[in-house]
Subunit: 338 residues, 2 copies
């Protein structure tokens, strides 16, 4: 982890101020993805569109489908297969959210009751399963083996990542490398699959496919690290979920790993994470330690480092509004508020 | 439901005594499927082979993969793709078992602690997800779009069936037709997919594919109906799970629908199923009513009727040990003890 140590000493600072919004630029396509999501979740079994529709209506950033659409069009794609493939990516993501909330016993999702809180764990498990298998049906209907390979492999990997995280929960001895392996699997992998699918549907060269897959990969890592930071620092209203959930669930995220390595507050972390007693007073204390030790700042710096690597992947693509919007999306992801 | 009414007056009786065991006839192939199952559940994430291996080791009848292998070879298939495809079918089945036990809060599976009892609900949810996505990876690696279509459609349908069942739980007004729709989706559909895949991998004619798919369909319906019967009548040791679980969970299965329609014991059923109080004394009482009203016998008769239809589907295939073994498997499924 020598390289990582070096990275952690860097201090980034924002240098731009005029983001071009990818979701504005691709508004009609995003609307088409939304229509596709609601169309394809239809079932004679009413509970399915009810639960799935609720979760999809909660919105969220639609970041993954946006990446599929954007990368396809960046590679000059002019058809409409990318809309349905983007919907597949979002279905896989939504399925994992439904199951995550059951696994983590979370009762809020984007500031609203989670599906398991509103219906039940069984409904969340089964509707998640349905979205997952419906995603596969849609991919099969699309008819490309390379894309099926990317997304079926990504699905297995995401779940491996979730299980790695479950196995590592409350483990204060997790190191940075092991943690990055977990978020690579559970988060970055679907970002990377989303961007590679965009390139593949556009028949881009293998080099372009790899560049865009790496763009997604680094962006995904940065997003997850910033999620870890925001869980301690965000404005509750803007975050759209409870601040402090990671801590309440005793999750050992990147900032906690960094702070624990400092060795100055080990009694606190061992009591908080290992012994399972975590009240609101301790959350405040944890946030103070994470700030004092620079753990949050270092996590944000590492996210910035990954974003720099992500943006570098776009260099070889000709300049366009789309390329600028993708760069800005990456650039500002480190300074986002939710 | 006039046709059904007529069926329910028929009384079948066993006429054969010398079953040829399909699992003996296909022992080497079944061994190859088992090897494939353990090989393909491997993951660097130890919890996955631990949980999945436990469930697969509990055995069970391996009925669905056996059907894929048997139907492929009945159609003259001589390659080995059917082994891996049979493993896919079993992975899909195992994934649904893992999730079923979470949904039903069951703590026993084949006479042993269920995975959710031994590990946890999160482990069962996530390892189920993994097996499901691994099944898709294997199908994609197999490389046949017709087979991907069959199995991805079947997966969605199974889950729709599970959700239909969840939505209909404790509903005493469910009629026979609606109940058969549920078990068609949640059980018969995978039987039918398993047998159709066997025919497709063997490049059988469309007529043969349809015959074998219908064979699986009717066999699946009969199996589920006999499961419903055995849940009240089986020998606990032989059943390999707790007798009476359906009743304890307040499940309205086919025998209960028939008995409730009789109208002689509605106070009992309404108290038991609707009001949620079900002790062991009531289980005995329920079993007595199901016997007295002929509900169990009528369910078994309907299962027999479906088996007759299943066996008729095999008529056009040339006689062979395999055909006889498939006929016997179907014939004796109505008289099985687990």
């Amino acid at each position: 982890m020598q390289a990582l140590e070096n990275i952690l000493t860097m201090i980034p600072s924002p240098q731009r101020s005029q983001p071009v919004s990818l979701s504005t630029l691709l508004a009609p396509q995003l609307e088409a993805v939304n229509t596709c999501l609601f169309e394809k979740m239809k079932s004679a079994v009413h509970l399915i569109p009810e639960v799935a529709g609720y979760l999809v209506s909660l919105g969220g950033k639609r970041l993954r489908p946006l990446l599929t659409v954007a990368t396809a069009e960046l590679c000059g794609y002019q058809g409409d297969r990318h809309i349905q493939l983007a919907a597949c990516v979002e279905f896989i993501h939504t399925a994992t959210l439904l199951h995550d909330d059951v696994v983590d016993e979370s009762f809020l999702r984007r500031g609203m009751p989670s599906a398991n809180a509103k219906w039940s764990n069984p409904a969340s498990v089964l509707v998640g399963d349905f979205l997952f298998s419906r995603a596969f049906e849609l991919m099969v209907a699309d008819g490309s083996f390379p894309i099926l390979k990317i997304l079926s492999k990504a699905s297995s990997t995401i779940i491996e990542g979730e299980i790695m995280q479950l196995s590592a929960s409350h483990n204060l001895h997790l190191d940075e490398k092991a943690y990055l392996d977990i978020i690579e699997a559970k988060t970055a992998c679907l970002f990377s699959a989303a961007t590679r699918v965009g390139a593949v549907v556009a028949n881009a060269s293998e080099t372009q496919q790899d560049h865009l897959a790496h763009f997604g990969h680094f962006l995904g890592l940065a997003f997850q690290l910033m999620d870890d930071v925001l869980d301690y620092t965000a404005d509750q209203e803007k975050l759209g979920k409870q601040v402090g959930d990671d801590f309440r669930e005793g999750k050992v995220t990147f900032p906690v790993i960094i702070a624990y390595k400092e060795g100055t507050d080990n009694d606190f972390w061992e009591e908080a994470i290992l012994k399972g007693s975590r009240d609101e007073k301790m959350l405040t204390q944890a946030t103070d330690i994470l700030k004092r030790t620079g753990a949050l700042m270092k996590t944000q710096q590492l996210a910035q480092h990954f974003i720099d690597k992500a943006i570098a992947q776009l260099e070889s693509f000709p300049n366009s509004h789309l390329k600028t919007a993708l760069q800005d999306l990456a650039y500002f992801s480190v300074y986002r508020e939710n």
